[in-house]
Symmetry: C2
Subunit: 215 residues, 2 copies
């Protein structure tokens, strides 16, 4: 029974890592679709989001079963409950990648972003990729050291988001209101993506240390 239990917890960790990798692919693909106006890739991201939703629901069911049958305590209990929240955050990160992809599909065959903002969104994609790769590592190794660094990675996304605002509001912005709204919303999706990674990292720290969860 206990061996079984330990395996169940390992599987939970494994599935959270799977979700994180899927999220990483989703955001990388969404960024590629955005930078190349590729509606095929965008559609793939949108279609694949269903898998993340299903995994989220499945993880919750499993956590409830483990709680009911195994009565976990201390760290294990924090993990089983925390896994539900982590899965929700990851699922939400998948939604945000899907939001980026939907914007590409909406504007196709036109481009979603003006060419001079390509470098900014390339950097956002890179920062998002770095943060989600770190998140997978934090989940797998319960690496609280790296968890605290994720906040710094997120600062990079916040700073890019602010920089984009400046570009859009500059007097030489020549793309009109609709493009301004588009790029601001897109940038916000990346920024929120980072926020959710920070939430996951904090949650892992709480699971490991048992210290109160700081929002």
């Amino acid at each position: 029974m206990r061996e079984d239990y330990s395996l169940q917890l390992d599987n939970l960790t494994r599935d959270l890592i799977t979700m994180t990798k899927l999220v990483q692919t989703a955001m990388a693909d969404a960024t590629e679709a955005l930078l190349t106006d590729n509606v095929t890739i965008a559609q793939k991201v949108i279609d694949n989001d269903r898998t993340l939703n299903e995994l989220n629901a499945e993880i919750e069911t499993r956590c409830i079963q483990i709680t009911a049958l195994q009565a976990p305590v201390a760290t294990d209990l924090r993990f089983v409950v925390g896994a539900i929240r982590i899965a929700t955050s990851l699922e939400r990160m998948g939604d945000l990648a899907s939001h980026v992809a939907k914007q590409v599909r909406l504007r196709f065959p036109n481009s979603s972003i003006p060419v001079e903002l390509h470098p900014t969104f390339e950097k956002m994609g890179a920062a998002a990729n770095k943060i989600v790769a770190a998140t997978a590592h934090v989940i797998e190794f319960r690496d609280t050291g790296l968890a605290s660094e994720i906040k710094d990675f997120d600062d990079e996304l916040d700073s890019l988001h602010r920089k984009l605002f400046t570009a859009v509001l500059a007097s030489n912005w020549s793309h009109g209101v609709e493009a301004a709204i588009d790029v601001t919303l897109l940038s916000r999706f990346y920024e929120r993506f980072g926020d959710h990674a920070v939430t996951v990292a904090r949650r892992i720290t709480h699971i490991v240390t048992g210290e109160p969860y700081a929002k």
Copy 2:
């Protein structure tokens, strides 16, 4: 012990209702601040958001304790686990009210929204208020009938959000890019607020019926 347990579950429901009422007040106040450029009310909304964050954390701790000590099953187990998610959604709705208030503070002493959009935001505020009042009722009475109607209330917010886009993109929009971004983001906060209410309503339906949770 069982009496104690039943009381614990009642308290959980009571605290979720308390959170919902706080969220209702927060969004009503944020809307008032927005429509009257009242930075004092805006600041109150921002300050009070802390209470929602604390209640969310406290409810989670309590749900874990109940699960560990009382080993709930069936509906009760779904409720105890669902309460964690409901509290998170409500906390997020509070964040969105706070986002509206922060926008008011950011633009003060200027107005956050052009005067011709006042009626639209007034309607959004009213729709948000209606949806959150219904959410409180759904939680208190586990009213799955009303839960399914909440989706219709949310359609109203979505429709107002789309209408606002049309206004901002119209050729006679005279307020520039910054105001366009401001009102689009503000409108999005109301729209997301409604989405979270729908999530809570679906969660209650899942708790009552045990049917798979449809995202």
